[in-house]
Each structure stands twice: as structure tokens, then as C-alpha cells.
Symmetry: C2
Subunit: 109 residues, 2 copies
């Protein structure tokens, strides 16, 4: 039984950036937010999430700082940078363009 993927490859960075565009969050919170907003359709595994966050840090699209959560745990909070906000715009428009193109190929006409 072929298992269906947790995510659409190539969309993870965009989903993270969009999540952080709402409010800074730690990694675990990002994963929960995406899972909940998607009604459990999208699941961000830790093995995908943390490498993605490292990529985003390296690109300068997010910055991170260690803080305490409300429940008194140590957590690394990520914040969108201006460059990250710009990148989110780029990724959103490329995504829309791709989806529209795929839609044309899938049309029955």
C-alpha cells in the first residue's frame, strides 16, 4: 500500500515562512500550526522541519532566539526577517503560477 506523502515537496519553506508571517513561533509550534490549519492533511515531520529551519536561517529569511515558553520550557523562537517576507512573496507567486499551469493541463477541454 503506497503511503501518501505528508507534504508537497517544494512547499515546506513557503508554509513555514507564511506561518511565521503571522507570528514568531518555535519549531514545534510551527509544525502544530500547519497541521491544525490544514485539518491534519499536512504533517511536518521533525526530520523535515529542523533541516528546513536551518536552511531558512542560512538564507537569512528567518532569525532565531532561545526563550522560555509560557509553560516554562526552553524553545527556539523563529522570526521572519524582511528578506524572508520578500522571499515569501516570491514563493507564493511561483506557487500560484505552478498551480494554475497544472490546472490547465488537468482541464478536460
Amino acid at each position: 500500500m503506497p503511503k501518501k506523502p505528508d507534504l508537497m515537496p517544494g512547499t515546506l519553506d513557503m508554509l513555514i515562512l507564511k506561518t511565521l508571517a503571522r507570528t514568531p513561533l518555535h519549531g514545534y509550534g510551527i509544525a502544530l500550526s500547519i497541521k491544525r490549519l490544514s485539518d491534519d492533511v499536512l504533517t511536518v515531520e521533525e526530520g523535515s522541519l529542523y533541516p528546513a529551519l536551518q536552511r531558512l536561517l542560512l538564507q537569512g529569511w528567518v532569525k532565531a532566539e532561545w526563550k522560555k515558553t509560557e509553560t516554562n520550557r526552553r524553545a527556539r523562537y523563529y522570526t521572519l526577517t524582511p528578506a524572508g517576507r520578500k522571499q515569501l512573496g516570491v514563493e507564493l507567486s511561483q506557487f500560484e503560477q505552478m498551480i494554475a499551469a497544472i490546472g490547465r493541463v488537468l482541464q478536460d477541454a
Copy 2:
């Protein structure tokens, strides 16, 4: 300058199956069809196309036979099998579900 991808990873098999659901075609024709219907947004490179067709053959979702084109060239025509048509349905519905889920995450509410 980061180049944008030719395709959305994970969608190629679906695009090929959908193309063959209209009419049998050879590989080159499949690539052209997808390119044209997508207004040049989607480009299927040979290095992606032929391995994908091998996968689809192995899965029994398409079958192939060598023929002559109208222009008298040898070409391998691919036809959708009943199993392939069923698989197309599965992939379409998973795709729709994913897109809808991503849409919810991207919403501004």
C-alpha cells in the same frame, strides 16, 4: 540567482497519466503537450520524462508499442491502462486534497 523548478515534484506522473487519458502519445508528444497546455510554465525534461515512463510501465499504468509517426519516424506510443486510469483518479484526488490543505494554511484569517 536561484532558478525556479520546471515542475512541482510529485506531480509528473499525474500530468503524464492525464495527458494519456486524452489520447495515446509518444514521449516527445507528451512533453510537448504538457508544455503547450501549461503555456510554457511546465517543462518536462527528457531526464525526468523517460524514467517516469519506465516507472509507469513497471506499475502497469501504461503500456507501450513502437509505431511510425505521421512524419514517418519511429516512436514509442504509450497508452493508459484501466489500472492507470484508476491511478489517475487517486492522484487527482490526493492532489486536490493537498492543494486545498495548503490553501488553508496560506489563508490570512
